[in-house]
């Protein structure tokens, strides 16, 4: 035909006029399509943004692009924890071999060894700190210093310590009421020690033997206060240098990186904030966060009011820390800051922490600028040595001491529990905790067994020697009669506590040769992830490894985006299925009403394909028109969310999904394309049957009379 333009024009003209003529029908169809496409565009843009955020969070903080772990593992790898516990993974016995083999795949940039676990951490306690201060004073006294300033400080520290011990004693008496007889008998020795330390006689005699008394307090009393400061830490045992290079989101926020090749731990900053910080400081931070970022007010929010109340009722943690001199200083600073003449520290603290919306910012500054410098805000400080106790592979408890070099944060995920709860532990220490024997250790064990079999030892001494930890290999091998593996392992672990281990620098080879649980793989070209995964899988069976992508490796966390996506797609599917039925119905009705008109057109000389096209153009026009409108609406919604500052991450979990404090969705061109394609497909399918009816209309219909 010579004039397709004119024909298209008339087709569009007829379609447009028909749509306008039956406005109600068009409006209903349009509304459904509008809603559907708006949902697809906005929803999939959101899901894609969350997906991108989470991809960035997981890949940049722990997951990398791919992960490998032993194919013999009972559980699946779950980097962020499984169902209530860490998954059980079989060890990769020789990481060096795995690294070597995997690095041969061209797209593999880095292979980072990992072992994730949880353990108890016993941090330094207030009693330890008090003793440390007193010992410093005693050292000066013994050195002959008799200045008034020193003596004043010495007395203050002594009375502080005495007060803490009496608090500890009270606590013990209170707990005795609850404990059973067995426990009381077990703790008999500890009890007697504490009773002695809190007696006036002990303190009267303190001056006679300062060093001896200090030793008694340090060895017999301080450990009893330890339990109060125990927390759980989740850590990844890794080659810290390789980790920091591979995961660019990780940065040291305080302190320094563990020196290359040395033992040490970088504690998760979020973990430190949540579990190691003074409760009152933590609550003030949370209040500030709620007020500044979540726009909540103390006046209107019951949770904030509760925090304020708890802060006022738990003043002991602050008072315990202050020796009389510091307490005096604190009173002076608070009087000035609060404009009060109150002399009692407790009341001043209570006044400080009784925050309202009006004075919060002032009191927050006062707390951090005036009070905090007198306090130790975190129960573990950079430079401290902490004891980590973990259940080893063989089931018994392993314990190692490790130096804290600093705190680690994950950029953009500072408030996320999932990322921030993770601490970075050096691989050597992790292997000690994990309890899997390296080849050298195995050889050492065999040698020990052989040696032990030939010696006789007195049973009374055996226990002390085995568990004392200081004895070393010779002592054990000379005295142990019947040695068991656990005892020897404990001893090997014990030896690691010595200071020379902290300074030892391990070579890359030493770090690589040994056990790991899984390994993160970073790719040169992440877009070729699937291909590389296939290549690695080909290489993997020989190594007994399983290769999973970052999403699968992240466990439940990774699945949640799939869940969001599934919910969205289901909703979209339902909407479009409904749209399909409704549009189809409406168009069939409309077509049946127009049989005469269609017959006339056919009689006049319109070919079948013309009337078919007429019907299809009509559904396509209404679909595209409202589809485009819906896409525009969805795009506007996305823009509006961005303009209003995004969707705030209301909790830690969302912080991780959003990869930051708020989700700033971006309009996905694919979402728009997909929505338009969907609309077109739906319109064509729903227009198909009416078009078929139109095609079958005979031109004879035109002749039918009205009556």
């Amino acid at each position: 035909m010579a004039s397709p333009v004119g024909k298209i024009r008339i087709l569009l003209g007829i379609a447009g006029r028909n749509l306008f003529a039956s406005r109600a029908r068009t409006a209903i169809i349009g509304a459904i399509l509008l809603l559907g496409t708006a949902l697809v565009v906005a929803g999939s843009s959101l899901v894609e943004s969350v997906d991108r955020g989470m991809r960035s969070s997981i890949q940049g903080s722990l997951g990398g692009h791919l992960q490998v772990y032993s194919a013999a593992s009972k559980d699946e790898l779950a980097l962020y924890g499984g169902m209530g516990r860490e998954p059980l993974l079989e060890p990769i016995v020789d990481f060096a071999r795995v690294k070597e083999a995997l690095s041969r795949v061209p797209n593999v940039k880095r292979v980072v060894p990992m072992g994730i676990d949880q353990a108890l951490v016993a941090g330094g306690n207030q009693l330890d700190i008090g003793l440390e201060k007193l010992r410093a004073d005693v050292r000066f006294l013994e050195g002959g210093d008799r200045s008034a300033e020193l003596l004043r400080r010495y007395e203050a520290h002594k009375s502080h310590l005495r007060r803490m011990i009496s608090l500890l004693w009270d606590e013990l008496q209170a707990s005795r009421a609850l404990a059973d007889d067995q426990l009381i008998r077990d703790r008999k020795q500890a009890n007697e020690d504490l009773a002695r330390a809190s007696s006036p006689a002990f303190w009267d005699g303190f001056e006679k033997d300062r060093l001896g008394s200090l030793e008694f307090l340090e060895n017999r009393v301080a450990p009893q206060a330890m339990e109060g400061t125990t927390t759980f830490v989740r850590y990844v045992g890794t080659d810290i240098d390789a980790f920091m290079e591979a995961f660019d989101r990780a940065y040291v926020v305080e302190g320094e990186r563990v020196p290359k090749g040395q033992r040490g731990i970088l504690l998760g900053k979020w973990y430190a904030e949540e579990y190691l910080k003074l409760k009152s400081a933590r609550r003030l931070d949370k209040l500030k966060d709620a007020r500044d970022y979540q726009r909540r007010t103390i006046a209107a929010d019951a949770e904030l009011q509760r925090w304020v109340k708890e802060n006022q009722s738990q003043l002991n943690e602050i008072q315990m820390q202050l020796d009389p001199l510091q307490a005096e200083e604190a009173v002076a600073r608070l009087q000035k800051g609060l404009g009060s003449s109150e002399k009692e520290l407790g009341k001043l603290l209570s006044e400080l922490l009784r925050t309202s919306d009006a004075d919060f910012d002032h009191k927050y500054r006062l707390y951090y600028e005036q009070l905090a410098p007198l306090l130790q805000l975190y129960s573990i400080r950079v430079g401290d040595t902490i004891t980590i106790k973990a259940a080893s592979r063989s089931g018994f408890i392993n314990s190692v001491n490790v130096k804290v070099y600093g705190f680690v944060h994950f950029r953009g995920l500072e408030k996320s529990r999932l990322a921030g709860v993770m601490s970075l532990l050096d691989l050597m220490t992790w292997r000690d905790l994990y309890g899997y024997l390296s080849r050298e250790q195995s050889e050492e064990m065999t040698a020990l067994r052989a040696a032990a079999g030939t010696r006789q030892v007195s049973r009374e001494n055996a226990e002390a020697e085995l568990f004392g930890g200081g004895g070393g290999v010779e002592a054990v091998s000379q005295k142990a009669a019947r040695i068991d593996e656990a005892a020897v392992l404990a001893d090997i672990g014990g030896r690691k506590k010595s200071d020379d281990l902290f300074d030892r620098v391990y070579t890359q080879e030493e770090r690589d040769r040994g056990v790991a649980l899984n390994a993160a793989i970073l790719l040169r070209d992440p877009s070729r992830l699937r291909q590389t995964q296939a290549e690695l899988e080909k290489a993997a069976p020989g190594l007994g490894l399983k290769v999973v992508d970052w999403q699968k490796a992240s466990g439940l966390v990774g699945q949640s985006v799939s869940l969001f996506r599934m919910v969205l797609y289901t909703a979209v599917l339902i909407i479009f299925a409904v749209a399909l039925v409704i549009i189809n119905n409406a168009m069939v009705m409309a077509t049946l009403q127009r049989v005469r008109e269609i017959g006339t057109m056919r009689a006049i000389g319109a070919q079948r394909r013309f009337v078919t096209a007429m019907l299809l153009v009509e559904t396509a026009a209404v679909s595209l028109l409202f589809g485009a409108g819906g896409a525009g609406l969805g795009a506007f919604a996305v823009w509006l969310i961005r303009a209003l500052g995004g969707i705030p991450a209301g909790n830690d979990q969302l912080y991780f999904f959003f990869s930051g404090p708020a989700l700033l969705p971006t309009l996905g061109t694919t979402s728009v394309a997909i929505s338009m394609a969907l609309v077109l497909v739906v319109s064509l399918i729903s227009g198909f049957y009416p078009a078929l009816i139109a095609m079958k209309v005979s031109p004879v219909e035109a002749m039918a009379s009205d009556d």
Partner: protein, 233 residues
């Protein structure tokens, strides 16, 4: 004059379930170019069936229908449609205008389907015809804004716009009052005289019959005869 239509021994049988209803039985007819011919007969006599067959919207059960030199029984659906488009104009009892199109667009429609003329030529042709049927200033109106007579004038214009050799009109006056009906027939007659377009229309209105120059009488599916109408003036 040569025959534009020749119908030879045509039968048409409709099937209603298992019963067969014969609508035409052995009809033969020749229509010459330039005729203004009427088919008359009572309802159900087979008038419409004959028009359908001559108009190529239907094909006979037996016999042959040759329109403009083409045997319709031998043509495909597509070819029949093309034949209708190029050679035949239709005027319907109920006007059958496309409700959503304007008067101008309704008349232009066959030209768009033909696709032979440019925009300007189409407009000239359509406007000329609208002037001729007396609706020159109604081009932008919708069919619903017109009276029955005016609508049928639009239909006449639409039937003629493609310059067909044959125009079929099925009871073109049945839905009009007698005066208006007479006017429509006069209009058709004018066109017939001016351009030599052949008209075949069915009616059972005696007054209308008097305008034709020949009448074919039909009853029970059979042709009763053909009579020439003697006309004054």
């Amino acid at each position: 004059m040569s025959a534009i239509v020749s119908v030879t021994n045509v039968s048409k049988i409709y099937k209603l379930g298992k019963t067969e209803v014969p609508a035409l039985r052995g009809v033969s007819l020749e229509i010459d170019q330039g005729e203004f011919l009427s088919v008359a007969g009572p309802s159900g006599s087979g008038k419409t069936t004959l028009l359908n067959l001559v108009g190529c919207v239907d094909t006979p059960t037996s016999g042959s229908v040759v329109v403009d030199g083409k045997d319709t029984t031998a043509l495909s659906e597509r070819a029949l449609t093309s034949l209708r488009l190029d050679s035949i104009g239709f005027i319907f009892q109920s006007f059958n205008l496309v409700a959503v199109l304007s008067v101008f667009q309704n008349v232009e429609f066959p030209l768009l389907l033909q696709g032979r003329l440019g925009k300007k030529e189409r407009a000239d042709r359509v406007n000329g015809l609208l002037e001729a049927v007396g609706l020159g200033d109604h081009a932008r109106h919708r069919p619903s804004e017109l009276s029955g007579g005016q609508r049928q004038r639009v239909a006449v214009a639409r039937a003629l716009v493609g310059r067909p050799k044959l125009v079929l009109a099925d009871e073109p006056t049945a839905n009009l009052d007698s005066q208006t009906g007479a006017n429509i027939i006069d209009l058709m007659r004018d066109m017939n005289r001016k351009d030599g377009t052949t008209f075949l229309f069915s009616t059972h209105d005696q007054k209308v019959l008097s305008h034709a120059n020949a009448v074919i009488r039909i009853a029970d599916g059979q042709l009763l005869g053909r009579e020439t109408v003697a006309r004054a003036g």
